[in-house]
Point group: C2
Chain length 353, copies 2
DNA sequence: TTGAAAGCGTTACCAT
DNA sequence: ATGGTAACGCTTTCAA
């Protein structure tokens, strides 16, 4: 079997308790340098690895950080979770990803997770079902587990017992809208999912600021499924521009929706960006390779992950204080899908078509 | 604290050993129905959940299945892992994903994982560094952990102590090549990564079968990074068609590479599919929305996941026998990016440009 | 500064 | 058919 404390104790001619103290760098007692050295040498020699179960039984937790996430087929959510995974590794615990494959049994996933008593849990993209998110935070906290919510919209309320960092959807939409407004557009559509709340507000804010009255909204109801929203976007673009031919710019909730919208525009004979400018969201690797490279909003995934790791790291180092809230901003990435309205084809010669 | 066996024993007026026997449905001893009922009632009432550490210490394992995967930014690998995750849930264990964020410390990840003594491990996309994969399988097996390798190319050798299911790259490439050959193409290029071995063989097989002698290869060396390969594909397409203008079809190693190649073709004034037909690989959700929807190979991710779960499930049910090997085939998904060579623009009127 | 021993919640063995 | 108890490997209290 594997090496135990007793094995070490025997070979080093000390008691198991001494070995435990040395290897755990117990500061409450002073141990002679000589003993320390001997114990450490033997432990090294035998390649001792503490039995996690035995230790867990005593200490009541595992040196484990779990990332709770509902990936579905959403590549951005998945990417955020994976980046967080990498960032958390620096905290010196085992990191595991738990994908809530079935949202209806969210609580069961949490209960199962809780039985392994992780030190900390990070919840990624807690956007769907807020009430549930709060309950989960409560449950984890009261089980003595540190919790960080990484990306959540609307932002986590102050009273929820968890640290949080999120990306500002409202600002992103404001940025996108401002971009096309400054290009000269006045009739601007918003396509996406109803649950992307902040986007609508950001869009409103920008338009209001420039004294634009017209609003063109196509917001899908129902489950926030990436591929369904994309299909919706295709129809929506078609519908929107058939009904309101004066529209010259479209803001979409994600890049996939944006290409789908572009496809919808092609269906009715409209070109991007000549006839309609298009803005995506996410900066998916695909964007730059599209025949008309997509102007989009880059989500700062790495910074998000770093912030999440920092928040949890601080708690693990026994930092106290009130729950922290951080907000990150998306960045505008201008490419070829946006141009002044009704631009000549010369103006878009950057696009090699 | 939480409910223990002793709590139940006390309330049910039996010994803890009896409770343990009842709750574990121990068949080696007969227990009176009456006692069983009483014990179960109390356990139910107190919402008893076994302490995983205590049980783990005795039994030596956790009711846990781990998925070992190196996601990087590869959406298909990630998708396979996630689908497998869902499929494994039916086995009634906790399922966790472990992302090997740093390949150079692969073995450390495995060692850490091993300390939690999972019942089974599934390794997804074991394509990079075969020697390492074998070692990991060996290590896990000798620790008494069941192993299934889900998607591995070249296929896992017979002697490696693990069950395996994979997707046939050779056949996929054969399928893609045959498709364009039957459309009338005779000068066909292959673009991708050197490590996608089987693709080259499948391409060769199809061309040979039709008596085509010319080979046009652009295979990238170095790390098999999706985004780097895409960048390479753009250059490669440009290079290939500048040097060999007779080429009329290009097979790419993934969809992202295919759009990148398409971009490269546009750069030098070539149209898809009029001038060049293009085939991708993966059937990414993006494909159908591209201005020219991409013909591609669909990877049967769900079947892959189901097979993986079946393989592991059988082992967990103590099935013996030799290591199993299963192979699944990609399916051709024809869209708009392939057409007869040098087709008139009328023939591609399906593409609204 | 170090050692002995109790106890965490289970399971498994030996009694009865 | 059921009960008592040792043992898993560790941490921690108490004693020396």
């Amino acid at each position: 079997m594997s090496v135990t404390l007793r094995n070490i104790a025997k070979r080093a001619h000390v008691a198991t308790s001494t070995v435990s103290r040395v290897l755990n760098a117990d500061t409450s007692v002073r141990i002679s340098e000589q003993t320390k050295r001997r114990v450490r040498a033997v432990a090294e020699e035998l390649a001792y690895k503490p039995n996690l179960f035995a230790r867990g039984m005593r200490v009541g937790q595992l040196p484990l950080i779990a990332i709770l996430v509902m990936c579905r087929d959403d590549t951005m959510t998945t990417r955020k979770a994976l980046r967080l995974n990498s960032a958390l590794l620096s905290l010196g615990r085992q990191v595991v990803l738990i994908d809530i494959a079935d949202p209806t049994t969210y609580h069961e996933f949490v209960d199962t997770l809780l039985r392994t008593r992780p030190e900390a849990v990070a919840i990624v993209h807690a956007i769907a079902g807020h009430e549930q998110t709060f309950q989960v935070c409560e449950k984890l906290m009261s089980a003595g587990v540190h919790v960080a919510v990484v990306d959540c919209w609307p932002p986590l309320p102050e009273h929820v017992p968890a640290d949080a960092v999120t990306i500002d959807r409202e600002y992103g939409a404001y940025l996108a809208a401002t971009h096309v407004i400054e290009l000269g557009h006045r009739h601007i559509g918003l396509v996406g999912h109803e649950a992307s709340y902040g986007r609508r507000e950001g869009y409103e804010r920008a338009l209001s600021k420039y004294g634009i009255e017209e609003r063109y909204l196509e917001l899908m109801r129902g489950p926030d499924d990436v591929e369904m929203t994309a299909e919706f976007a295709r129809e929506a673009a078609r519908r929107l521009l058939s009904k309101h031919p004066q529209i010259t710019a479209l803001l979409c909730n994600c890049d996939l929706s944006a290409v789908a919208a572009l496809r919808g525009l092609h269906d009715i004979g409209l070109q991007v960006p000549c006839d309609v400018s298009l803005v995506g969201w996410d900066d998916d690797p695909w964007c730059q390779y599209l025949p008309t490279a997509l102007t989009t909003l880059t989500q700062p995934c790495d910074e998000l992950a770093a912030a999440g790791a920092r928040l949890l790291g601080d708690r693990l180092n026994a930092a106290g204080g009130p729950w922290r809230r951080e907000v990150l901003r998306p960045r505008l990435q201008v490419r070829e899908s946006t141009a002044p309205p009704r631009c000549s084809s010369i103006a878009v010669s950057v696009s090699p078509r």
